[in-house]
Symmetry: C2
DNA sequence: CTGAAAGCGCTAACAT
DNA sequence: ATGTTAGCGCTTTCAG
């Protein structure tokens, strides 16, 4: 447990601390021979630099911090993977904190990162909160992810309106006559999706109906909503159901099944947020691939931009476009069903 | 971007730095009135303590570091969630690093954490590497996760042998006569699973066969193996297939489907590592729930134990027991199939 | 190319 | 209960 300091390394290598430090941080400023000696000493002693001291002494840090609301939603994982890949590519490390779906913890970790002098911070604030970006100017570059804010902060978000639009257009393509949207748009992302759906609906001649504005958006809620819709007479029943989240859609499919209705034979169902973790049911779900990976990447890029041109530009608000994933739950003809049965070999792509 | 220091806070509050520091770290040692003044000053100035300085000055850190090989395997996420929950419960923060499936990066992040003076480090080393725990004594408590090591280090792992045993027993329960194990046991965890399978097979009167020791364990490999098995005559074909990973099993189901064989009607298939991300196929997969969450929890507990009784005890090797999850892919009778169709409302539990 | 010395911001003794 | 001060380990001037 005894700590080895750079002075130990210096002594072992027969040089001064200054030189040892240079060997570590500016190898080109040190004679090759000296460098070798220092490295040998480091290896022999098992020296690990004290990051706190190093940073306190003023070297700028090469670490980004990422605060995620939870680790059990695929979207957040995609963000993490994108941010990690991009950070590494640019020579930065990434440290991730999971806030356990807690507003206070989100803030806590953000402040921790700020205090830890990371080079920049990425935050995906919680979805169901009215997030108030700190009015205080943050001491390091900060980018908010998956946030639609008019405030003067950097943010990168999925184009939720496009998600809604795409899925509604898909419904139209599939010949939907009566579309039901299930879920409660109780936060910005979901509201935007409904806007997109409404917009696309104007260009279609299908009836659109919003149902089940329950209090939560859980699998169970989807299940209940599905069962409820299944009780209607065939004429009153929708022929296409869109879940505002994949979780709801997956629940609805189970609810229909419990009531004796089969997807996609009796009606079609789609989600719209590309959450592979919702695919636990028997029917692979058509959904919108939300561009989490790209959001993570772009977030890091914004950080890097700010780093390279401090104070040089205005806060930026970026939107990233989603794309449709057609799967079995909306296969409306035998041919489509056949195609949908082909194995999907790139599951991991969606994560 | 201007940095506010504790001395600024002290001046603003009309006290000395020492008092300001106490207000922050030992509030009980400060008069309530002074405390309020200091807090007001902090809020007014937007002060964020410099973690590096704080730590360098000797306060022990309340942060654990967790190094994961990747973020796209459910097992790792379970570990992260378990570790996060347990850490918070004990008043610690958790920082997570993802090593992008790279040995060197794993090491890099470990060293970073050690250098950053976290209170303890948890590592899940990469699966397909012969991990050599540092011979150097780590400067902080360290626990290896999902590792079966005889070395003198702390580790917590899933009981992979039990995973194999359970799934083989399940095969027997389902009346399997010819069992095929697919996948290449090219690292410890998988080897242990085959041991468990073999052991359980001795008490059964089923034939057991290992096939397709391909070079990878991808969905695609599973698919190919499934198609290959499907080509056999009905008598030579296994009636129960166990994938050494869920990913392989999911691939195999798709392969059977492509060859015209339906699971569970024509044969049964199971995985054995409880990876919900592999459940993207049309048939919910019977598998073993691997106790990732508990492993994360227990890892943190070991860390805390070491922290509370430094040097007091021997390294510990803990095994955590798994459990069976029966789903549609091994439902062998109509009644079972009916039951398996009931919706699973607690997907999140597996993550 | 190398060595000596001045802090970085904070905490914890210690002194008051 | 509050103020004063000596470092924590490192990087980085600045001389040699």
């Amino acid at each position: 447990m005894a700590r080895i300091r750079i002075s130990d390394v210096a002594r072992e290598a027969g040089v001064s601390v200054g030189t040892a430090s240079n060997a570590l941080n500016h190898p080109n400023k040190v004679k090759q021979e000296t460098l070798d000696q220092v490295n040998a000493a480091i290896a022999r002693l098992g020296y690990v630099p004290n990051q706190a001291a190093r940073q306190l002494a003023g070297s700028e840090s090469r670490v980004f911090g990422l605060v995620l609301p939870r680790l059990d939603h695929a979207f957040s994982l995609q963000i993490a993977n994108g941010a990690q890949a991009e950070s590494r590519k640019r020579g930065y490390d990434l440290l991730i904190a999971s806030a356990g779906n807690d507003d206070i913890l989100t803030n806590h970790y953000m402040r921790y990162f700020l205090g830890a002098h990371v080079a920049g911070v990425l935050v995906q604030p919680m979805a169901d909160t009215s997030w108030d970006p700190e009015t205080q100017e943050a001491p390091v570059p900060t980018v908010y992810l998956d946030v639609h804010s008019r405030a003067a902060v950097n943010c990168v978000a999925a184009d939720n309106e496009a998600q809604g639009r795409l899925i509604m257009e898909h419904a139209t393509d599939r010949g939907a006559r009566r579309v039901a949207i299930i879920g409660k748009p109780d936060f910005m992302q979901l509201t935007l999706r409904t806007y997109g759906i409404r917009e696309a609906a104007r260009n279609a001649d299908a009836e659109v109906e919003f149902v089940g504005l329950g209090s939560w958006n859980s699998v169970k809620d989807g299940f209940e909503l599905g069962r409820e819709l299944a009780r209607r007479s065939p004429e009153a029943r929708p022929d296409f159901v869109i879940g505002l989240t994949d979780v709801l859609a997956a629940g609805a499919i189970a609810g229909f099944a419990a009531a004796g209705l089969s997807v996609p034979n009796d009606l079609l169902v789609a989600g719209c947020d590309g959450n592979p973790l919702a695919w636990g049911g028997t029917v692979p779900l058509t959904t919108i691939k939300s561009p989490g990976y790209e959001i993570g990447q772009k977030g890091v890029q914004l950080l890097l931009d700010e780093l390279s041109q401090p104070e040089a530009h205005e806060p930026r608000q970026e939107l990233v476009a989603p794309s449709l994933i057609e799967r079995m739950s909306t296969a409306s003809t035998p041919a489509e069903r056949k195609r949908a049965e082909e194995p999907e070999l790139d599951l991991a792509e969606y994560l």
